[in-house]
Symmetry: C2
Subunit: 489 residues, 2 copies
């Protein structure tokens, strides 16, 4: 394996810390394809755990999984005006369907005789091809609602790629639904937004800010975009997921009408919603510390690592490790024993700290004698001795639960502490300069928002309403709307 | 929903029967992208059930899931001579990374200013990019073996596409492993071949022919290709999965060497193996009958459908259906109630027959009175009355098990009956004319095989050895090798 590079402290260089943690913990590495990554076994196991639970929740709320093609005819993008504006600019275009040996250039190259009459785009998102198909699926109110989801890869050409956070190709799920009424579609968009929030809280141990996007930050083609904005440890916001109420925009663009119960013809109402492998970046940056990852137990590929202290009687220690591992595995705890003889325990401690394994159990000759094990928590570093008996799996289960709650509470405390309220533009500017994220009364326009970005390099991450009115920091107009203003990934 | 087209009898027009069953049962439909399909909820649920069990077996045998990029630089294909010969001819080529508005042509088009210096190919398979990466991952014998797998979409441009069987894009898993010795790699290739066989037998209720491919039919770049060849109900063979021993070909092409325990440098040994959404086509064609699908119970998205016969007291019937559904669901049986009021029971019977649901339970006023339910089997059409009591879930469980075995035995009987042995070329030719698949002693060359294809439109599907020698049907040379000769998909 290649030599490890040093991981700087978060406070020293957060973005270098991030990259080195991702690389050294074995989550992912750069691919020999511009802007793309290789998701390594540890990273993929994390994604698969996210997938399993999220898929369960998506199906439980009545959605069915499907698979639509990777390639989308270019002309489909021309249909929805804003959509092409937002997506067609940064996409991979397929123009040929064969390679040949180019004798002139002495290399293999696209065969000019195999040029497509209409080029294809690798999907940046699938609204267009799905609504093209909904036209065939939907005739009457009886065909509605349609609630589907797909797990897929998508591509958006990235000029400044960053592992998990911004890669040209990424993995995601995209939900797409079609409804007979505006109300039902709006409710669906909000319901999935809420589903994401619960999933993030219960599995990622992150409770992000929630609200809707300003018109400027909306999904291309949406009437309303609901968002979840986590604050990372460097004080920057990360958009963790979005749920869009698409109005009748895609139905109009692809002429999808239905016959109502009253016999009239109406356009269908739409939503779409998704989260991606970016969530792995969120886990790293929301919980990680100077020693590496701190993974929330319900998603951690390894929940407990057992490390032997060999002593004189190696077989006895190995046997004890195996016995304890079996006990825990039988109780459904993802347990790994590191029996490697080449590295010393201290090296292993560091390794599993870096990889964020929530619980470490150390077993040596003394522990066997005393029928006890030393248990260390990754989140707080605390150690305790637990009796080695039938109750051990339950004790570890409880500990994993406690670790989840501790990570969640630490996250919430951090988010609260870094957020300040400002009632004037000047207060806001000062708070931003102090590295805070700021909550302000807001009734500004696109133009004001643009200025904000130009002057302070921040954006409105999300909007929500409060109970009382206050004067907007840019217009002075009284408003119940609040805006979260922060720098962002 | 669009009007249903008539499904012809299998004996009348098998290939039209196949297409109509796939379309009308809701497995998939054609996409507005050349050679591609949309996998609909029922088809995807089937695929997800295949995935879940196969993924379990792949992980259980020590393989870790990963994800490599969709795009592969064209130059990677030039490295392995046979591989490019086999794959580069039929692939989607990405040449641009942006679209723009072409004012001259008045349409959106690839932006000439955004042409890639090196084009990318959408992966037809991932050996090249994986072995490029293995070069970084492998230095010494300590880094071996590496055993990884990925679930991904792949593209091979198809001129004559057919739903599930041959589509330009399809979903699959591809395993890739790296080993220190030839022996270990060969054993891995055989082990995964065997794993597929067991999975097919235990979940698909298909026990295909197994063996290795002739040099002519091998995977491009393999030293040995192990294959599984199911015989479909029209007497054509379908390649259901392959496992390749790749020798040191890819290690040489990408210069992947390792330091042995003795300190020497050697090239790494490789395997790869995969199965795809084609398996859904196999399920349709191996078990389907003139009424539609017959799904093996362990993969069926719906294992039991409950159909009410309304009578006078609708709420009582609905309540009984719900009670029975709950009992079965609690026992882990995938149960669906069709409470639709618009269609008559007879219409529903046909519908779920078409969709291949293994067990149908009918509940009407009489059944409630008698505390009994009418249970019909999709595989044999047999009906029986079962008492409605605590034992019902166990009885249904047993019935599902019996249906699995019946489908498997029917498949095996069919395969045996359609296969004949021939000891001369003439016998073989006659048997092929009679619509049989033929097993013959074989010591022929590529050339003989080519003639076979030209004259009879058949190929050698697989080879294996028997206990005794017989003269080859083309060379007369004594051989223990047997060849299965058949027309194929």
């Amino acid at each position: 394996m290649p030599e490890k590079r040093t991981i700087p402290a978060q406070s020293e260089n957060f973005s270098e810390w991030y990259i080195q943690v991702v690389l050294n913990s074995g989550l992912a590495e750069y691919a020999p394809v511009r802007g793309c990554m290789i998701i390594k076994p540890y990273g993929y196991a994390l994604w698969q755990n996210i997938q399993t639970e999220l898929d369960r929740r998506i199906r439980e709320t009545g959605h069915l999984n499907v698979y639509f093609p990777l390639l989308i005819p270019v002309s489909f993008f021309a249909r929805e005006a804003q959509h092409i504006e937002g997506f067609a600019k940064e996409c991979a275009v397929v123009t040929h369907y064969r390679l040949h040996w180019d004798a002139h250039q002495q290399q293999i190259a696209p065969d000019p005789d195999a040029q497509l009459t209409e080029p294809y785009v690798i999907r940046p998102t699938s609204e267009t091809i799905i609504w093209h198909t909904f036209r065939k699926w939907i005739q009457s109110w009886r065909d509605l609602p349609i609630k589907i989801n797909q797990w897929a890869n998508v591509m958006r050409w990235e000029m400044r790629p960053r592992l998990f956070l911004r890669t040209s190709e990424f993995l995601w799920q995209e939900g797409h639904t079609a409804h007979a009424t505006r109300q039902e579609a709006e409710q669906e968009a909000r319901q999935m937004h809420q589903m994401y929030l619960e999933f993030f809280r219960e599995y990622l141990a992150i409770e992000p800010y929630t609200g809707w996007k300003s018109p400027r930050e909306r999904f291309a083609g949406a009437e309303q975009t609901y968002t979840l904005e986590g604050i990372m440890r460097d004080g920057k916001a990360l958009q963790m997921g979005t749920s869009h109420f698409l109005g009748q925009n895609f139905a109009r663009a692809f002429d999808v009408q239905f016959t109502t119960q009253e016999g009239t013809r109406e356009y269908v109402w739409a939503t779409s919603w998704g989260v991606s492998t970016r969530l792995i970046g969120a886990l790293v940056m929301a919980h990680g510390d100077d020693h590496g990852l701190r993974l929330p137990p319900r998603l951690a590929p390894i929940q407990v690592v057992i490390i032997p202290i060999w002593g004189k009687d190696e077989p006895a220690v190995e046997d004890a490790c195996q016995q304890i591992a079996r006990m825990l595995q039988q109780a459904g705890i993802r347990t790994h024993i590191d029996l490697d003889r080449e590295h010393r325990p201290g090296w292993k401690f560091h390794e599993y700290e870096l990889r964020g394994v929530p619980v470490r159990i150390v077993i040596g000759p003394k522990d066997i004698q005393q029928r006890a094990v030393e248990v260390a928590r990754r989140d707080t570093g605390e150690k305790q001795t637990l009796p080695w008996n039938d109750q051990l799996p339950t004790a570890i289960h409880d500990l994993l639960h406690t670790i989840h709650n501790t990570l969640l509470n630490q996250y919430k405390a951090f988010q609260q502490q870094i957020t300040v309220e400002a009632t004037s533009f000047q207060q806001m500017a000062q708070a931003l300069q102090d590295g805070k994220v700021v909550c302000v009364p807001w009734a500004g326009s696109d133009h004001h928002e643009e200025q904000l970005q130009e002057q302070h390099n921040v954006t409105i991450r999300c909007l929500w309403t409060d109970d009382y009115e206050e004067p907007c920091i840019v217009t002075g107009q009284k408003t119940r709307v609040r805006a979260l203003i922060a720098p962002a990934y």
